[in-house]
């Protein structure tokens, strides 16, 4: 069925009429601005908002003093730890933390009113580094966590001492992956309206069902009293993956009481709202002279920023995603989530896998080099295959690491001779592979509705954020129902009419929502067959649905179109609900043993680079990526995902780092924080989506991203013999490493 159907709303995309939340204008709408802390850690001694409140055009000013009132929102929220106040209470913990929020007739008025709020602070000592924050004398951010560690995830597999004792060589390295920003071109934006004890929220979020649930809890409302609507996003990449602006805007709307209010972040504000986790990764491996791995120990400190946000869960995912897809008899991982006085961190496309892959795949080449084994051969010798047990003890199925790696190696001509040296320009090749778990327990629900004019509408809470999910899901529905894609409409997230979906995260939608749709389609077809029984005068088991008709399977000329069946039954429509759930056993908290994921995301990359040894500049000449897609729905959209991932990955690999100076971001704009542009893209960029025999959908929203940075670093090592341990691989770092040679 794989077919490159154009995105359903292609015309809106090229005519500029996609109804992004950023464009939302509601009658009587007010505009919000946020007063933010300018100190990294301080007590709030006093806030005076009276002058701001009296300004003409200012409608409401919300501070923590408004919270915890009867009928209003409580103060703290958080998906896993309720540690984050809607606006700061008696303390601020990072530069940029919201202290007050203003609703006014215009953005200009709201902005001017910010300057009229007086806040008196008493500064406290601060800590920014994830390893220093766990030292005994470090300032403590949250009293409940005296060592600033909000989660310590552990994995213990085999006997690590025995494993290291059995090794001929021990290779021990330290890698660092810094903070980066998602830079969705559409910034974070949320509008809310409180009317008669009910909230309506319009938000650029990847998680409508979660927003509904968290806000309902915060306001002590029934979920039905909170309606969440999500328009297509101008990019998400994890940055809009969970609850974000919604609590503060909803609280402000509650205080305004009646008129809707909208908050649109400036580019600078997005940098203090959510970032990628910086990670410091210590990795140590034991290996036999013949290349067999005997043991691996990984210690990761994840910089979670000032609030835990979704990090407690992610630190567990990061534990699994830091080991690598290799057969290793003894594995020990300690994954620490750490509070610091920086903005909160959350999932970033390739979440918690990019950091781990950066370390273990650079490390793979270090091991291969130490042993004098060719890097591809070393990997092929140790890669996990179907039926192997992973370090969690779970048996692996549908495993294609070898095919992914072989595909990219042959793509760039790994075994063809490379002209390494031509004066100041030096060339090298590198490759990398990655393994990523998906959300263990999640649920997708949907509704399919057939009208008497033959149109089929899919109601889904999957968010369209540019990945083409609505198009791919419409294709899956059309195929499952046996109708043309052209008859499909998709109605996106609106909790008032659409059913539950965990979220549009972790590349789960094609797999989860796709299966929910197939289940709904099966039910809908049954209903249509039953309705056709009296018309065709054959029992249901002799009927089937295909090409928009119900027919007698043995005599296909005996048939009724779906619309005829509805009309003759005097029905204007018929619908069916579908659900798909994954439930896995989970992991033992002490040992990390058990079952962690319904299936594994798999990807690889290989590249050839050229380095100018006079400037340190790295050019990627060719790049091949591979993702295991299980079953491809739309080849063009799949390729856009694979290539888009590589391009997105070039950012943190070569260009991107959020630079902090005592907690203050030094580059919160797109002039000082560079994201990939045309000149950064390899001219020769290719990808493959591999399919499997099981025909199970695998998401491909992230798979080709994590290998990018280590593949490039390995190519640089191949060219120059220098190893880069810190991302991004800037020209300056390469030059300095060359000079230290």
């Amino acid at each position: 069925m794989a077919k490159s159907v154009h995105m359903l709303d292609s015309i809106a995309r090229v005519t500029g009429t996609v109804p992004y939340t950023a464009n939302l204008k509601l009658p009587q709408m007010l505009y919000a601005k946020v007063l933010r802390s300018w100190l990294p850690h301080a007590r709030i001694v006093h806030i005076d908002t009276s002058r701001a409140e009296q300004m003409p055009g200012v409608v409401a000013v919300l501070t923590a003093a408004d919270l915890n009132q009867p009928g209003g929102p409580t103060t703290f929220y958080g998906v896993q730890h309720k540690d984050q106040p809607i606006v700061a209470t008696d303390r601020v913990r990072y530069i940029g933390e919201p202290v007050a929020i203003i609703a006014a007739e215009s953005t200009d008025i709201a902005e001017a009113a910010l300057h009229e709020i007086e806040v008196e602070y008493k500064e406290l000592p601060a800590v920014y580094d994830e390893i220093q924050a766990m030292q005994p004398c470090a300032p403590v951010l949250h009293g409940d966590y005296p060592d600033n560690c909000f989660r310590h995830a552990r994995l213990r597999h085999g006997d690590i001492e025995v494993g290291f004792a059995a090794a001929d060589e021990i290779i021990e390295e330290m890698y660092f992956s810094p903070t980066a920003n998602h830079v969705t071109l559409e910034p974070h934006v949320t509008a809310a309206q409180w009317q008669d004890g009910k909230l309506t929220i319009w938000s650029a979020t990847q998680a409508p069902s979660l927003v509904q649930q968290v806000i309902a809890e915060l306001f002590n409302l029934e979920p039905e009293a909170v309606r969440v609507m999500v328009a297509p996003l101008g990019g998400g990449y994890g940055g809009k993956g969970h609850i974000r602006l919604e609590p503060m805007v909803a609280a402000l709307a509650w205080k305004v009481n009646g008129r809707p209010v909208k908050l649109t972040l400036t580019r600078a504000e997005t940098f203090v709202t959510v970032n990628k986790h910086a990670a410091a990764i210590h990795i140590k491996s034991g290996v036999k002279r013949d290349g067999t791995l005997t043991a691996r120990q990984v210690t990761i400190h994840w910089n979670g920023g000032a609030y835990a946000d979704v990090s407690p869960g992610l630190v567990g995912s990061g534990m699994l995603r830091s080991i690598g897809p290799y057969r290793i008899p003894a594995v020990q991982v300690d994954s620490y989530g750490v509070y610091t006085n920086l903005p909160p961190a959350a999932a970033f496309r390739g979440a918690m896998a990019s950091q781990g892959t950066w370390a273990y795949e650079s490390h793979s080449d270090s091991i291969a080099h130490r042993l004098g084994i060719e890097p591809l051969a070393f990997r092929l010798q140790n890669l996990l295959v179907d039926g192997d047990a992973f370090a969690t003890g779970e048996t692996l199925h549908d495993i294609h690491f070898v095919e992914c790696l072989e595909a990219v190696a042959s793509g760039i001509g790994w075994n063809t001779p490379l002209q390494k040296n031509s004066g100041v320009l030096k060339r090298g090749r590198g490759l990398a592979v990655m393994m990523k778990s998906t959300i263990p327990n999640s649920t997708s629900q949907c509704r399919l509705l057939l009208d008497d004019d033959g149109q089929v509408t899919l109601f889904t809470s999957t968010v369209e954020m540019g990945q083409g999910a609505h198009t791919a899901l419409a294709q899956i529905a059309a195929e499952a129902l046996g109708v043309p894609v052209a008859t499909m409409n998709v109605v996106g997230p609106d909790t008032a009419q659409n059913l539950f979906d965990t979220s549009t995260n972790a590349s789960r939608s094609t797999f989860m929502m796709g299966n929910a749709i197939i289940n709904a389609a099966t039910l809908l077809k049954q209903k249509l067959i039953e309705a056709a029984v009296p018309l065709l005068e054959h029992p249901p088991e002799e009927l089937s649905v295909r090409n928009g008709v119900v027919c007698v399977t043995e005599k296909p000329e005996l048939c009724f179109s779906l619309t005829d069946i509805l009309r003759r039954n005097q029905l204007t429509s018929v619908d069916a609900l579908g659900e798909f759930q994954t439930r896995v056993a989970g992991l033992d908290p002490e040992t990390g043993q058990g079952v962690s994921t319904p299936h594994w995301h798999q990807g690889a990359g290989a590249c050839e680079v050229e380095i100018d040894t006079e400037t340190g500049k790295v050019a990627i000449l060719r790049y091949w990526s591979a993702a295991f897609a299980g079953r491809v729905v739309n080849p063009e959209l799949a390729r856009l995902q694979n290539d888009g991932n590589v391009i997105y990955g070039i950012g943190p690999a070569l260009l991107e780092e959020v630079i902090f100076d005592n907690g203050q971001i030094a580059n919160p704009n797109l002039s000082d924080y560079n994201i990939p542009a045309f000149p950064d893209i390899p001219h020769n960029l290719n990808s493959v989506s591999l399919e499997g025999e099981s025909g199970e959908f695998h998401g491909i929203g992230e798979m080709t991203l994590p290998p990018v940075a280590p593949a490039i670093a390995n190519a640089i090592f191949d060219a120059l013999g220098i190893r880069i341990y810190d991302l991004p691989i800037t020209a300056e770092k390469v030059l300095r490493a060359l000079q230290n040679e």
């Binding site: 090229v14 005519t15 996609v18 559409e186 540019g466 994201i675 000149p679 893209i681």
Partner: protein, 154 residues
């Protein structure tokens, strides 16, 4: 407040706005032309691109008052009735977008490029479009779309 007449997509609008407002703000908020978008606000990303007398301008950096007396074209002005502009068509045919936030900017830059060079090479296209950013990474398909319109295509 300043009063000015802006000529946008061939139509004249008599408007009044405060003198510090950018052209981007006035297009979006006063005229409801939301095809131009703020990505960076400082002239880097190109998602606010419009044509002023046929030349590409970052509308986030131009004051609305400065645009008075000039011919402004936004993405909304490209299609002829229901018929898409050939650049818009090419972006659809070659899957030249994902989230689409950057797309109007790329399309208008391409229109300006092709107005001056009917047969740009791949290198010239990359160079010319280097002032437009696409975070989704649709660049390879954007290049194909623009190449398909270049006479130099072989």
């Amino acid at each position: 407040m300043s009063n000015a007449t802006l000529k946008v997509n061939g139509k004249e609008y008599r408007l009044s706005f405060s003198p510090h407002q950018t052209l981007l703000h006035v297009l979006r908020e006063e005229l409801g032309l939301v095809g131009a978008r703020e990505g960076c606000g400082i002239g880097i990303c190109g998602s606010c691109t419009v044509l002023v007398d046929g030349r590409t301008i970052s509308s986030c950096l131009m004051l609305a008052v400065q645009a008075a007396g000039h011919d402004i074209t936004t993405v909304e002005g490209l299609a002829d009735d229901e018929k898409l502009h050939r650049v818009q068509r090419a972006f659809i045919d070659h899957f030249g977008f994902q989230c689409g936030y950057c797309t109007p900017g790329f399309i208008l830059s391409t229109v300006a490029l092709l107005a001056n060079h009917t047969n740009p090479s791949a290198e010239e296209i990359r160079e010319y479009l280097s002032g437009n950013l696409c975070r989704c990474g649709s660049y390879p398909n954007i290049l194909k779309a623009v190449m398909s319109l270049s006479d130099s295509e072989v």
